[in-house]
Symmetry: C2
Subunit: 206 residues, 2 copies
């Protein structure tokens, strides 16, 4: 196995969290380099585009979170080998990234400007994406998004939905998912109760 070092903020969420989960579930050892926010200003200068996460693979620096997630998924056995199932899995990842990317510019906003921008998403693109995700889940049996088993698509959605429900995102109603796409909350509970996922978070609670 390659030597892996994953660098990201010290939070249980965001763009590195599905990668951490995939590696943990697969029993793949990696250095979990967690940046304090003040350290990020210096660290980003060492990255090609000023962004995290980064992944070092045997010392080679790699960018782009979902490229890393797919790689971690292959190492961990959480990525479909069938091309069509992999297509469905990838489609989910891109849609989640596209939906959450629309939130990106609002993090730099304040006050009414942020409120207006986020409510536009809450009343615009977010229900569309959430309803589509729910439809995909239900179309594939209701348990998993692809391949009839846990894949990185489930981890990507799990982390995203948990963030939306968390109350840490001002102006995003914590019952948005429950109102628009309750099957995604049932999915979230199921993923959280997966033994390897539960064991992962239990480490931090201890």
């Amino acid at each position: 196995m390659p030597q892996l070092k994953l660098s990201y903020f010290d939070v249980h969420g965001g763009r590195a969290e599905p990668i951490r989960l995939a590696l943990h579930i697969g029993g793949i050892g990696f250095e979990d380099h967690r940046l304090a926010f003040p350290a990020f200003a210096e660290f980003r200068k060492t990255t090609p585009f000023g962004q995290v996460p980064t992944l070092e693979v045997d010392g080679v620096l790699v960018t782009q979170c979902d490229a890393m997630l797919r790689y971690a998924g292959k190492l961990a056995g959480l990525y479909p080998t069938d091309p069509y199932q992999a297509l469905l899995c990838d489609e989910i990842s891109y849609v989640v990234e596209e939906a959450s990317g629309k939130m990106g510019p609002t993090f730099g906003m304040k006050g009414d400007a942020q409120k207006e921008a986020r409510l536009a998403l809450v009343n615009g693109s977010m229900p569309v994406y959430l309803a589509w995700l729910q439809k995909q889940l239900l179309a594939h049996g209701g348990d998993y998004f692809a391949d009839n088993r846990l894949t990185i698509a489930d981890l990507k959605v799990f982390v995203d939905v948990r963030g939306l429900n968390s109350g840490r995102l001002d102006h995003i109603p914590t019952d948005l998912v429950e109102k628009v796409a309750p099957a995604l909350n049932a999915h979230l509970q199921r993923i959280a109760q997966t033994p390897a996922v539960a064991a992962y978070y239990a480490r931090f609670a201890a």
Copy 2:
């Protein structure tokens, strides 16, 4: 092989073009559904997010261009089977998509606003991305981006660089790539001269 129908604008570029090229190179038959711009307004209503390309696989509608491109790459033998080489290939696709995504909002702008926004990219993120792509290419031997052979990463960059050079993007200097990352232009020429790629475009010139 599945029945494939790819729907996109009738242009030799954009987000469907690498998929068309991959399928053609692999000898994979597909319906090349080309939308006239007026027809797009109706067609988009049949898509989940109002976006093209879409791919129908045995009648199932799939979105997200690079999910399709990876699928096409697997069918066509243009995607690495080695996970690390696939990671490098994927990283390139995400970076090109991220870079070209920054251009997205400028298509709806006019006059000075568009000029200002595009020059900000020309003097900001674009040289960074182009220089990084060149560095990746040279780090892997100078001919291909991953796996020491033609992959979908080469097709993704080829279509993007050809667009930047084309003169069809107002305020983007047609010599930007040549000035910042000339190895990408040499790569472009090499890909264009690949027999299957040359044969593909010769069909349209006839």
